[in-house]
Amino acid sequence: MDSPYLPFLGMVERSMRLSEKERFFAVVPSSEALLAYRPGQFFMVGLPGYGEAPISITSAPGDTRIELCVRAVGNLTNALHKLRKGDRMWLRGPFGRGFATNEMEGRDIVFVAGGIGIVPMRSLVKAVLAERERFGRLTLIYGARTPEEMLFTEEMDNWRRRGLDVQLTVDKAEARWKGNTGVVTTLIPKVSIKEKETLGVIIGPPVMYRFVILSLKALGLGAEDIYMSLERRMKCGVGKCGHCQINSVYVCQCGPVFKLSELGGLPEAI
């Protein structure tokens, strides 16, 4: 029997510093099967001796590399930051249920990302832009603490050219910052929305969800129209270890992507 705990090797083809805390990796997996993923799915990324952690996929389906972006917060993630071109990491996955982009077709979409929530959001944005004509009006609202912590901004002009309205905001502005200051919710009311035609997608730190949901609802979005990706501790990725459980639901299996309407009866969700 194959062990679901056995990782595959991935070779780092590119390792790039994005900010003080975040590093970007393009990884060539030892098995092509790992490239069959959806936006919103994740890998258990590991290093021998340091363990494993769930890390979102930031590249889009069809890419020949797995792209990851890691924030150094602890033991494993700091060790991952030392990896350079030619080094190897371990990958198990892809895990979870990602975004069903076919369900989103024909709709306007407001993407709301906070902090490193932009990492999985980038995968979704790229997948949607790859088939731009299938979707309506597209808006990305992205907030970070400071301008330095904003990720992937150099790609955003390209996204804009392909028809994504990108709105940026920072919590703490500096003299050089020309954009909006304030949390992401300050930008949401400014989006003009066609009721019943618009979907919202939220990915960010736990504190963000409650407020963003309220603002999206105020614009007229229903619980069926709001998607979000939830973060939980994970150890196995296959519905056994129990760490990722929200009430009766295992995030590694049923998530991390949920519709708000699926979270009724799960008071621990947000």
Binding site: Y50, W90, R232, R233, C236, G242, H243, P267
Partner: protein, 328 residues
């Protein structure tokens, strides 16, 4: 028994500091079939407290899976233990199956035996007080020897090969029946409701004051998770050898009553209070897993109550929730 010892590793109940406990049996006399429950369940023989999942080499970034399973016999499991093991079998084969557990299960012969309830046992309230399968051999104690049932070919084969047996007499069967009736009368702990109603009762109890009450005294020690035959959550960690090159990825038992269990980055904890963590544990037993497995995940062994230092009692808590549900 001698035959079993020759062919297998054998684990069974022994007397340890005056209490029954599971341990390896080396000689026939080591085995002391116990009528009262062991403090720890037998789950460690299929799902060890610490288990290697793979061995790795950090220099070469290579790894090999480790699945350790030897032929073993477990003797002295009570009906609730056997029911609990059946639930574990389902968990570890559900969805993505767990090869480590299943390989060990495959290699394990289970010999059950009957029991007498103590003040904490409440299996009769959950219908887990009798078993028809899930074991290979089952020993019913009578005044002169044992009446033996088998429920697998493997069990029948072992019995015919290693033991002398004959058909029971009418009087022996009568004695068994009497012992059964006696046992039924001996249950002190009872749940005041039907097992099939418990998921709905728990579903309505999220706001119950009972959680704050027991949360206020709980130590968050995780002992209730450790002793439970149906608690299966685990942690995974890497252990590096002193040579700093080789190591092992191991999984160890974990418990949802421990503080860090649901903590994520930024120190955000999705179950900050002990009340929330206990509520989660009880809901897993009586509600959450019932949807997937169509069964409660408590087998009424009473181990969590027996072990709890502050005397949090699963029957009392459940009965209090049942009382509250009547009041509403």
């Amino acid at each position: 028994m001698k035959g079993l010892l020759r062919e297998h590793k054998v684990y069974g109940t022994v007397e340890k500091d005056g209490f029954p406990a599971f341990a390896e049996i080396f000689e026939v006399d080591d085995l002391k079939l116990s009528e009262t429950p062991t403090h720890l369940s037998a789950k460690e023989f299929l799902f060890p407290q610490r288990e290697v999942l793979l061995k790795f080499n950090m220099r070469t970034s290579t790894h090999v899976p480790v699945i350790e399973a030897e032929k073993q016999v477990l003797i002295g499991l009570h009906p609730c233990d056997i029911k609990g093991m059946g639930l574990m079998d389902r968990v570890f084969s559900h969805g993505v199956s767990d090869p480590n557990y299943l390989a060990r299960r495959e290699q394990t012969i289970v010999v059950g035996t009957d029991c007498v309830p103590d003040e904490y046992c409440f299996c009769s309230s959950l219908g887990t007080d009798k078993v028809e399968d899930g074991f290979d051999i089952f020993l019913h104690r009578i005044s002169r020897g044992f009446l033996v049932r088998t429920s697998t070919d493997r069990g029948a084969e072992l019995l015919s090969r290693l033991a002398d047996s004959r058909e029971p007499t009418v009087r022996e069967l009568k004695e068994l029946e009497e012992r059964g009736a006696q046992r039924e009368r001996a249950f002190k702990a009872k749940i005041n409701g039907a097992p099939e109603d418990l998921p709905a009762i728990y579903a309505k109890s999220d706001e119950s004051p009972v959680w704050e009450k027991i949360g206020a005294i709980c130590y968050g020690c995780g002992a209730c998770n450790n002793v439970c035959p149906t608690c299966y959550c685990f942690d995974v960690k890497d252990e590096v050898r002193p040579n700093l090159v080789e190591g092992e990825r191991v999984r160890t038992w974990d418990g949802c009553t421990l503080e860090d269990f649901a903590k994520v980055a930024g120190e955000h904890n999705f179950r900050k209070s002990r009340a929330e963590r206990l509520r989660h544990r009880f809901n897993r037993k009586f509600r959450y897993l019932a949807g997937t497995f169509d069964s409660l995940f408590c087998v009424g062994c009473g181990r969590c109550s027996r072990t709890c230092l502050v005397k949090i009692n699963i029957v009392d808590v459940t009965n209090e929730l049942i009382r509250e549900s009547h009041r509403r």
